[in-house]
Amino acid sequence: MKHHAISVQDLNLYYGDKHALKDIKIDIEEKSVTALIGPSGCGKSTFLRTLNRMNDLISGVKISGVINVHDQNIYDNEVEVEMLRKQIGMVFQAPNPFPKSIYDNVAYGPRIHGMRNKNELDQIVEKSLRGAALWDEVKDRLKDRATGLSGGQQQRLCIARALAVEPEILLMDEPTSALDPISTAKIEELVQELKQNYTIVIVTHNMQQAARISDKTAFFLNGDLIEYNDTDTLFSNPEDQKTEDYITGRFG
């Protein structure tokens, strides 16, 4: 039985009057891949952003409930959001490298957390780029601008950048939706390797992808968590009629 990396209870979220997440209760397992699926607008991204408190940036958001990470409610007042986000990294839908060199992109996180030692930074940059399966492609041009990489390379760079601050949990919001099939395959492969060391929560619109890479899958609909189960079970033998309708393509 694996430990729970994240434990969510009675989570409700409102954008102004809009009730976007309704009484969410979910335990996310450590060192595994959890996929979030559901039709557009059902609240997958919103839920993902509650986990590293990126919703704090949106004005008019009201959140209630408890999200425990290491038995600490991340919405408690004494939680420092900077330290939380160091522990819970995020990769976005569209690759968003900084207009800096490849090296400076990866070194960005360690630097803002106070690392100055050149040797240590070199090591972290190499380790993170290897971790994101990008090292061999860029090792001879670390000083080049990151914006000159291909879309797939940029996305792996963003993963390397997130790994460089050594998070425990990695949140990914449709990380392959802007990529071609080959880059997508690379990133799926990468996710499989990363779960040895990281807890991964990934939003995807692609049900084959969810079935291929995830251990558990959560199905959202209109802000409700409809069903949460082992991926194999959820896809082969869904409990809820709505889940079945969705995964068989009857709506959404």
Partner: protein, 305 residues
């Protein structure tokens, strides 16, 4: 598919109809005539500006160039045209800009950062934004009166470089804030989010991501605003820049004059030779303005992504 078929059908039928390509069809001739007249009209409108500028430059250079020599740059104001020069005015302008530039840059960028990065985008934000936009359009003489009341009289700074520079700062601050805000707002949110999601603070994000990205735009806006300040006359006359100064400022509290005021003063002199000196002064002023604009363009191109 059906529409494409009919389209192709039309096409082939008009191909076989040879007259469609022959000159002389009355309607086509008329349309081409209208097109040509429009072309000529717009070309003419553009030429008016170019021709006037050319005449102006020719006139100024023809009158001023013979007087533009090292004596003219090094001499102070004088009642005798042969001994008059712009040294005091040149240094006065340099002093004023040297104080105005860092002040507007620091205050302007700080305000822009506050408005774009920290403030809630509510009623107050929109009110401040609107007010600053309006201030940028207020005539410069009004800022002169403000400077006279506040700096010269209330703060008792007198007719000093400092009073002049502070007035200039007020004058161009709204322009600097507006352009800095635009530059900062053009930074993609995705970059801010990337930084914040790694645990950076707001300030780290501003320092490491937002400012480097928007600096070329901010610098361009600041330089263009400063070049406006260099050419301004009215507000400095109000705060008492003097027209006859025979020394360079040595401190912030000294009396001073600036290039445009010196030029204005010479233009009003009865002796004809002073007019030529004024033309020479204009050439110097134009050279300064053009090089500042060139720097702004250079910065924009150098950092353009």
């Amino acid at each position: 598919m059906a529409t494409q078929d009919t389209f192709e059908g039309k096409n082939t039928s008009s191909l076989s109809d040879e007259s469609a390509f022959q000159k002389g069809s009355a309607r086509v001739t008329y349309r081409r005539f209208k097109n040509k007249s429009a072309h000529a009209l717009f070309l003419g409108a553009t030429l008016i500006g170019v021709v006037i500028l050319a005449i102006l430059l020719y006139d100024i250079f023809q009158r001023g160039l013979p007087y533009l020599n090292s004596d003219f740059i090094q001499n102070f104001a004088s009642r005798r045209p042969s001994q008059a020069g712009i040294q005091a005015a040149l240094w006065g302008s340099i002093w004023v800009i040297a104080v105005t530039a860092p002040l507007t840059f620091v205050i302007g960028v700080a305000s822009a950062i506050y408005l774009e990065e920290y403030s809630q985008k509510g009623f107050l934000y929109r009110f401040i934004q609107l007010s600053i936009g309006n201030l940028a359009g207020v005539p410069s003489i009004v800022f002169g009166m403000l400077g006279l009341t506040i700096f010269v009289r209330q703060l008792a700074l007198g007719r000093s470089v400092l009073a002049g520079a502070l007035t200039m700062t007020l004058l161009i601050l709204p322009i600097v804030i507006v352009s800095a805000r635009e530059a900062i707002a053009s930074v993609p949110n995705a970059l801010r989010h990337a930084s914040l999601a790694m645990g950076a603070t707001r300030w780290q994000t501003i320092r490491q991501v937002v400012l480097p990205y928007s600096l070329p735009g901010i610098l361009t806006g600041t330089i263009l605003a400063l070049s406006r300040a260099i050419g301004e006359t009215a507000p400095l006359i109000m705060v008492g820049a003097v027209t006859y100064v025979a020394f360079n400022p040595t401190s912030l509290m000294d009396e001073f004059t600036v290039l445009p005021i010196q030029i204005y003063n010479w233009m009003g002199q009865p002796k004809e030779e002073f007019q030529y000196l004024a033309a020479a002064g204009i050439i110097v002023l134009l050279a300064i303005l053009l090089s500042m604009n060139a720097i702004a363009i250079y910065l924009r191109n150098k950092f353009q992504r």
